[in-house]
Symmetry: C2
């Protein structure tokens, strides 16, 4: 049986993010966060070890989800088919808060060197989890390394597009579109000609 | 007319790298470096602002070279054709010291959090230069972003392969092979079938 009411964690996250945006990350204290969320500091520390952890609360979930999805994928699928087939599930599990939430979070993270470096390590951990997941599934080292890095690139670029237009286009659609565009960019010229498409549109 | 003999800078770099490997980065002092290189500390500071800069001496050259190569490329080339066409030139200009040098440098950089973060920023600066270079050339934002990130991925993976086999295969060959493999990984299944090839080799 849970010792705290449902939603407390989400209220703390929301209060912290608001205060980080309003006052800056360094200037915000845990008592200010708990006051806004209407809970005690003791409750805060049941959920988070410090205010920084609020911004990185789910950081181990995405690598774990990625590893599970790779392990459970149908054996006939290629690595990029597994990735493309997981876009909807990943978004539902990890990006439910919507684009505005991530725009606010990014503005806080990018304003602080330490948070930015932590964010880079978080992306590196996701890449490592994907890499290891494909190796475990039997991919060769080169395929595993490249698929992992390209997946992180697709997520990074699609999320940037999503935040830029404030969520007007659903994130899964942007992920699929970014993958399609990357396929065109990567395709060799012979393939491009065969598809009668261009690797870039010039103004 | 140069006030110092040719080769001093390279001798300082070599001496510093040897000492960083032998004693550790934090434990090495500038006087130790200059003693081994046979020059005065005054000479050291004509070339480098501190010992950290020795490891990042060429860090602005690669982004500048990348920007120049994109700007001067033939107009009919696609972004990935420009990248592939520049592998030999980039390696000749930036990786002439050979694989062993980069293995030693990497062991130093990866042993220190501050150096590792600086290295990540260096790769980010290269990605930014590529991105900006393609935008300036008239690529759309999405193509420029994806080509830039994929290029950094190809270089990172190919250099890792090069260091792992201690330079046994020339780096330009590994760059081309990594690009070819990434094209296979990215290709959609229809294209894979048409080429009668597999996106990964299973054991």
């Amino acid at each position: 049986m849970s010792r705290w009411e449902p939603g407390t964690r989400e209220r703390l996250e929301q209060a912290a993010l608001e205060l980080f945006v309003e006052r800056g990350f360094a200037e915000t204290t845990v008592p200010q966060i708990t006051e806004r969320a209407g809970v005690t500091t003791r409750t805060f520390f049941r959920h988070f070890s410090d205010k920084r952890e609020v911004l990185f609360a789910n950081e181990t979930e995405l690598p774990a989800l990625a590893a599970r999805m790779i392990a459970e994928a149908a054996p006939e699928l290629s690595p990029m088919e597994i990735i493309a087939g997981g876009f909807e599930q990943v978004v539902a599990a990890q990006f439910a808060e919507g684009a505005e939430h991530f725009v606010a979070r990014q503005s806080v993270v990018y304003a602080d060197d330490g948070l930015r470096e932590r964010e880079m390590r978080k992306m590196a951990a996701l890449t490592d989890a994907l890499h290891q997941g494909f190796l475990t599934r039997g991919s060769d080292e080169l395929t595993a390394a490249l698929t992992a890095q390209v997946t992180t690139t697709i997520f990074g670029v699609a999320i940037t597009r999503w935040m830029r237009d404030r969520g007007a286009t659903p994130l899964p659609e942007l992920l699929h579109d970014t993958l399609t565009h990357l396929r065109r960019v990567m395709a060799d010229p012979g393939w491009i000609d065969a598809q009668a498409t261009q690797p870039e549109s010039r103004p």
